[in-house]
Symmetry: C2
Subunit: 710 residues, 2 copies
């Protein structure tokens, strides 16, 4: 059901590819039928949702209202556009920028909604800084107009210099983004040395100080908001846990407790895949004295205990050892294994990679070098085979062995692509460009393996990989904003700029097919392909605008072919994307790295580790020297992942447990723990009503682990 909704959201969004101006044109009736179909599905989903939710909650939820309003607006737009089209009047499909509303509000895109809420909450604070900043730009514009306007100065292109207040304000706004940095200063600086002080003051105040203040405001709000949301979740969890306790409790002596059997049943319901050993471990922690009861304090920690990933490690024998024990244990085999496990083995391969890099940099037209490529490929294949011989294969390709997977896939793909290329080449005597490109990229990506050998690099890369999933949230956020801007841009600018083959040098090709661009920087820099003629091109233009440099050339170009007011579109894009979204992205990376730097074990984790040690089934992290042990064992998360039959032994015997390595924790979980520690263990938090009334949007997308526990 959820997947189906996602598919329809995608279909609905991708309609922009087929509508005028289209990448793959389809007639209006086809796209409009598809759109109506999508809207029907969304409406159906909403009706279904209304049935399963209490009516009051449903109508209070802004998500649902949003979707309904958008459906109605889209239908109205479709009818108007369709009827006008029928009488051959071309109008504007104004509801198209609203399409991402469905992506945001439907489905489980809670992260994107959170980011949007974060932006919304930041707006009031940022507004005042922005107004002050605009005021500062205006004051400086007035000054520039008065100081330089009457001097008759000319820019390097011969244009007039600071003679019009609006143009001056735009030039100075561009200077804040540094995109026209020395150029805008040069005429005044050439005229008089002292005038450079004006520009230096301007840059210090507006570019350095104001832009940093924007980042500070956005970052501060981001943190505050995040903290607030997570605190709310934590209180809610506590509240529900207390409810659960009150249902399950029995009176033992003077206190209320939960019986061991009840507790075990509860855990089995909440986490059906939990291994017996893990369950046993949690019970021993929750019921310290082994009295057969779990008291309230320990009961309340249950959700947190379940959230800690305990890896139960099961040392397995190599399959070859089972099949051909004699050969596998022979002295030659032992020697090979010892060799592969040795540090020098890694170093030798690092050197091979470096030599490979030099060969790649050299001219590959030389036949000797193209033969060398085969040598390198076979060396890498041998390496993987040797490793698979030495280490247990299932452990080597464990779920979290990112780099082993990476290695394997790169080599395999390179092998396939090289063979395919060689086959085509020998058969048809020509190189397929696409395959060659892929082979090249794969060949170079192989060099990334050097990173793995250097511990310090590995840490940075692992942190980056860990925050990868959350970075995708920003991908979603950026996509939504890009989509809306792209649709508006296509309506406003499509067809105004044409791209001709770069080898064409007709006068038409030189001005991108639009005489208005004659002599402009846009045409001179050959930016004709930066246009809004289809969705893909629009996205690339917006990407260039996000990078900021030369955005004023693009803005000027599109203003020339339409109207000066078109610059507002580009300024608005800069404010929304560069000042807001990019700053939130930077704030997120900063926060993620700070959390990674301040990583310490929580109280609960320490308790679990102590218990593991007590029970004598622990593995010291020191034992895992050079990763040899972890390579050899099959690490499994006993959280909610599938468990194979091996672990179903009764006791804790034969199993080794440890807390899942720190580096595999997600940032979100870290943040949550950071803020949760602020709630005292006995604190019950505000009443449910208070939490509910505080902000109804935040409750329904609950912590998933908690939903199971309650």
């Amino acid at each position: 059901m959820r997947a189906a909704t996602y598919v329809f959201v995608c279909v609905h969004l991708s309609l922009a590819l087929f509508e005028e101006p289209a990448l793959f044109p389809l007639p209006f009736w086809a796209t409009s039928i598809a759109e109506v179909l999508c809207l029907t599905v969304f409406f159906g989903r909403l009706v279904h949702f209304a049935k399963v939710t209490p009516q009051m909650v449903f109508w209070k939820d802004t998500k649902n209202i949003c979707i309904m309003v958008t459906i109605v607006l889209t239908l109205i737009d479709l009818i108007i556009y369709g009827s006008l089209e029928a009488v051959y009047i071309h109008s504007v499909r104004w509801s198209r920028p609203l399409r991402p509303v469905f992506l945001i509000n439907f489905s489980e895109s809670r992260q994107i909604r959170r980011a949007f809420r974060s932006i919304r909450n930041t707006l009031p604070d940022i507004l005042y800084v922005f107004l002050l900043f605009l005021f500062s730009v205006l004051i400086f514009s007035l000054m520039a107009l008065k100081l330089f306007g009457d001097r008759g100065l000319r820019t390097a292109e011969g244009a007039s210099y600071f003679t019009n207040i609006l143009e001056t304000a735009f030039e100075l706004y561009v200077l804040v983004t540094t995109a026209n940095s020395p150029d805008v200063m040069m005429p005044a600086y050439n005229f008089n040395w002292w005038y450079s002080l004006y520009f230096i003051t301007y840059i210090i105040i507006n570019t350095y100080i104001f832009m940093s203040v924007f980042l500070a405001v956005v970052y501060n709000n981001y943190r505050k908001h995040l903290k607030n949301e997570i605190r709310k979740l934590a209180y809610l969890k506590r509240h529900k846990m207390i409810e659960a306790f009150n249902i399950l409790k029995v009176k033992v002596g003077t206190e209320f407790m939960v019986k061991e059997a009840t507790w075990k049943r509860l855990v089995k319901v909440v986490a059906p895949d939990i291994s017996s050993s893990h369950l046993e471990l949690l019970l021993r922690i929750s019921d310290e004295g082994q009295k057969g009861h779990v008291d309230k304090t320990n009961f309340l920690r249950l959700a947190d205990l379940l959230n800690i990933q305990v890896v139960t490690i099961n040392i397995k024998r190599h399959p070859l050892e089972a099949w051909v024990p004699r050969v596998y244990q022979s002295s030659a085999s032992l020697l090979i294994k010892k060799m592969v496990r040795h540090r020098i083995f890694i170093w030798v391969y690092d050197v091979i990679i470096l030599i490979n890099a030099i060969f790649i940099a050299l001219d590959e037209k030389n036949p000797f070098i193209s033969y060398a490529e085969w040598l390198f490929l076979s060396l890498y294949v041998i390496e993987i085979l040797l490793k698979l011989y030495t280490y247990e294969p299932r452990a080597y390709f464990g779920r979290k062995q990112f780099w082993n997977w990476f290695d394997m896939l790169i080599i395999l793909a390179a092998l396939v692509a090289t063979v395919a290329n060689a086959t085509i080449q020998s058969a048809r005597k020509y190189n397929s460009q696409q395959i060659l490109d892929i082979v090249l990229i794969l060949r170079i990506l192989r060099l990334l393996r050097v990173i793995v050998s250097i511990q310090r690099f590995r840490v940075i890369v692992t942190t980056l990989i860990n925050i990868g999933p959350t970075m995708l949230t920003f991908g979603g956020l950026v996509f939504v904003v890009y989509y809306a801007f792209a649709v508006i841009g296509m309506e406003a600018f499509h067809g105004k700029v044409q791209f001709f083959d770069p080898n064409f040098t007709t006068s038409d090709a030189l001005v991108c097919g639009n005489p208005a661009l004659k002599g402009s920087a846009f045409a001179r820099d050959r930016y004709c392909k930066n246009n809004f003629n289809d969705l893909a091109s629009s996205f690339i233009v917006l990407m260039e605008l996000t990078v900021v440099n030369q955005w004023h050339v693009l803005a000027d170009g599109f203003a020339l072919v339409t109207h000066q007011a078109a610059k507002l579109y580009f300024i608005l894009f800069h404010i929304v994307v560069v000042i807001l979204i990019v700053n939130i992205f930077v704030a997120f990376i900063l926060e993620a790295f700070f959390v990674a730097y301040s990583l310490e074990k929580s109280e609960l984790e320490t308790a679990i580790e102590k218990k593991i040690q007590e029970l004598g089934v622990g593995i010291q992290e020191d034992d895992v020297q050079g990763g040899k042990l972890t390579d050899n064992v099959d690490a499994k998360d006993s959280g909610f992942s599938g468990d194979d039959g091996d672990n179903k032994r009764k006791a804790l015997k034969g199993l080794y447990c440890r807390i899942a390595s720190k580096k595999y924790r997600t940032v979100d979980a870290l943040l949550q723990r950071m803020f949760e520690s602020e709630i005292g263990p006995d604190e019950e938090g505000p009443s449910l009503d208070e939490i509910l009334n505080f902000s109804p949007n935040d409750i329904y997308p609950k912590n998933p682990n908690f939903e199971n526990s309650a």
Copy 2:
């Protein structure tokens, strides 16, 4: 003595203005005599310093070693250069970039040293990120070389595209700074749509992620380092306070105490300017039960108590009230005062300012408008006179009334300049350009007053003004780095590029006097004045490089007139200034704003406020409605500022106290308090030896308040 050293440091640094390539040329013998003189003074100061410091401490201090080594090196350089010059061989004055060493290491420039230490401590962490980043750039360069090198693509200027690995790496490094953003992509993008994905991936990884990680690493280290330094200071203070307590203590009952009289004498010694009422207040807080003794815990807080600024407010009568009470209290006068204090009065003047802004924007050639200028000026003068009539003048121009001072000075200066201009104009019938410029700037600065009326703007501006002094530290840091780079740049590039008047269009002027620049972007963009021909020009070029945009054009230009290796100078500058210093600056602004946002009253301040309330001399901040009361009273810091006789009354009668308003605290003090709160009240900290051995550099520049207290 200290001022004299500063003067000589300035003289020594300014020698670069007079040495070849000079702004104001002086012969070599003159500058070298001045330099030797400066070095003698520095050496003398060092000898003096060695006499007053214990020998071991003196030789352990890297500051002193640095200065000595620099003096010796400079002398050697002077001798070699001088003797070569005598036989007409021109060599390089290689010791000149070392000159800022004196500025850093002498004198009280502790803040700059701290910033440098912060950078030094950040280096190891940043190095690994930087290596990884370089690795990524190289991998991408290799890919670009292979993917695009053989296509025969051409840039918009017709140059070859990604055919050389070094050029490719440079282009891609420039792309990280976004300076050549869409241009570098266009040929590949024009060739094939899909190649844009390569550039988008590159920008996301290197520009967005790596640059954010750099900021995160720098920021994290900055915070860690700051915290460490301040904790060290706090421990040292605690330690000395305990020593002082042990000297002064007497046994009372079972506990050691300090007698009230001893305590009072101590405070008088430490803070000779303290008012009796303030002293009384502190005593009541320290000796809660009024037993005549101060116990250890309370004694240890003394330094912190003295650091809290308590404003004793003394309501004064207007001088006119004393001189002509009848007139001043007449109903007409009361009406005027009521009018001036009214909200509408402020609004009316805001409207006047806005009308003024429109008049400024209009053409001032029109005589009607230039008359209007006189009208506005007189309106502003009337406003100030009315305010002085209504409010007590000494209170109105109180030490912390920044905006009143600003108003007054701007109006006065505008008045003087306008009158001067009018006089010159009527006498000699021409406008002096300089005076006109000044009048213009003053006239526009007046518009800033609108900010004062809007509360939210005021808060932001006040925070910025508060962090101003610390921002000057960065000014110092940037100056030091700029100076070293400027001297090196002048040695390498002076005279290579010539500036001609912009109206000259001879072929020589078009290539900046250097044929090597023919057809280059440097010459086309008319960057001839961006050269290293004197110190001032060099600083402006370095400023442009800091802003980043078009830095590759400058680097290419100077590489063309010298050697391709010159690009290394520009890359190094980018790494040092943009990646390190600008990020530290951003980190500082972020931290300052976070501290300002998380501003809460400390425990001690709450204690003092409670006591003030108890004694019935408090002023609720709510009472100070609309700032009317504060306008009317004379706020004094009873810390170390001068106190006039009025306050010497015996008791607390007639005085109103309140904690100095939050907005006037410095960021440094805030940070200190933030970190100090982590030390428990009874904790004695590590032994003095431990602190001393930990880092000797940090101890001698102590917290000044504490030096007094101990």
